[in-house]
Structures are given as C-alpha cells and as structure tokens.
Symmetry: C2
Subunit: 160 residues, 2 copies
C-alpha cells in the first residue's frame, strides 16, 4: 500500500527486518522457518525456545544497538499457557522497552479462554496453528500480505 | 483457516459481528462504510465521530448485554492525535472492559513518531489511510482476509 506522502509502506517494513519465533517444539520451529524462508525471504527469522531465551534475545538487541524484531510469533503453550502469558505480559508491560512490537499468539488450542485471555494480556492477534507444511506456507503468506505489505510496522529509529 | 479441533475460525468471527469505526470526517466514514459493505457484508459497521461517542457506544454494549465490536478502526487525528491516543489508552488500560478488542489505527500521517507512539499506546497495527474508494476496497478486503479469515477474534462469550 502506498500513501500520499512518499514510499510504499513495505519498503520501511523490510529494512533491517527480523521476526522472532518463540516456540518450544523444535519440529514446529523447522516448519515455521521453512515457510517463512519461502514467504518472507527478506526477513530474518530468529528462534527462542522459551521465555528466558526470548527475553535474552530482546535485551541483547537493545544492548547491541541492533533492531528489535518487527513482529513476534509466540507459541502460547511453552509448555504451559501461563508461560506464554507471562512472557506476553512482560513484553507488553507499561515499562517494557519492547512494548511496541506486535505479538501474534499461535496455538493448537481453540479454547475461548485461551483466545480471549491472550487478547487481555496484550496479544495483537491469535491464530490457531496451521496443521501441516502447506498450511504453514499459506499462513506465512497471509502474514506477509497483512503485516509487511499493508500495515506500517514500528521502527527502532524512533524511540520514546 | 481450520484447525484440528472443530469449525473454521471464520464461523466464530462472523457470529454477532460488528466493527466500530471512530472517524471525525463524515466523508471518510461514508467511504469506509461503502468499502466494508462490499468486503465484509456479514459484519455490521458502526460509526462514532469522536472519543466520547466511541466510549458511549462501547459502554452501551456492556450495559445492554450486546456483543462488543470484533475490531475497532481508529482515526488517529480526531482532530488532534492526542485525542486518538487518549481513546486508545482508555480502551487498552489495564482496568478497561474493552481491553481485548483489537484497535487498528488509521491515519494519513506517515510520521515515524505517530506510528511508533500508536504501538506504544496499544494499537494492534497502524495503517496509512487509503487514498480513494478503490484503495479502501482493497484495504477492507485485506482486513477481511487477515482478521476474519485467518485470526481468531476475541469473543464476548468468555469474560474474565
């Protein structure tokens, strides 16, 4: 999408772009990585296997002066859903330095409680996990279309 | 998108579905309404011209026991950007009863400050306003594909 001011939104979104996947299942990470490499080759996929690794990675971006990920994909059950919600709250806390990064929660769970609680904790959207490699590919293509080609993602170049 | 548990996500998303547009420019509201009626005929578009009307509408949903909107489209400059951010913060406040509703900020502004501050205040995504009726139609189609056909939206049937 272009706007009346200047360049297409997508040019900004792709600049220094990485995406953090928080996923405790290594096989799922491989599936997601493969789908992302096909649908979003311009964006570097990063992996954290748990809450601690995710926070460590985000803090290292701030310390090293590298860009924060443009988006976070967060598996809710890490392996307990409380682990996912705890991380979500830490990222979205008022005093957090990562608060601006959109977090998409992924889960096989279709329970209304899991969905609505995730939104309450600051999830930007909730997606039930695709079932196989082909469905992952379709999903990451939609991720590209919405987040990278339609929306303007936040940038590290402006910090409050 | 379907999942291993049951029905397609979209069936839930379309049930009792409305969408609240907060827009102080009546001509823009007509454009948005027209595009939504084409792309999302199953979803009732509601209009609030300012912060007060938006809060009044959201509170009336709670009082009357009708469903909250599935999504809010919020024009940032209402007419000042501070008005948009104030409403965004009120919706996303820890104690808010509407906190779970995703809010997509819309604006002609492409200023990095407007974009990143909106994410800090809890915007779920930021979209630069389409320029004409055709572009609005393309945008609302993307809105349908992502929010109604890919994501699982929160439901009023589960309240914390």
């Amino acid at each position: 999408m272009t706007n009346r001011h200047n360049q297409p939104t997508s040019l900004r979104n792709f600049r220094h772009a990485s995406l953090l996947v928080v996923e405790d299942n290594k096989d799922h990470w491989f599936l997601i990585k493969m789908a992302l490499e096909q649908s979003l080759p311009e964006v570097e996929p990063m992996w954290a296997a748990n809450r601690e690794e995710a926070l460590q990675y985000l803090n290292s971006c701030l310390l090293n002066g590298t860009d924060l990920p443009k988006l976070i994909l967060l598996d809710l059950y890490l392996p307990k859903r409380e682990d996912g919600w705890e991380l979500l709250q830490e990222i979205k806390d008022q005093s957090s330095s990562f608060k601006q990064v959109p977090v998409v929660v992924l889960s096989y769970s279709n329970a209304q409680e899991d969905i609505t609680e995730s939104y309450f904790h600051g999830s930007t959207s909730y997606v039930t996990k695709p079932a196989d490699a082909q469905a992952w590919m379709e999903y990451t293509q939609k991720l590209r279309t919405y987040w990278w080609e339609t929306v303007t993602l936040p940038s590290d170049r402006y910090m409050t």
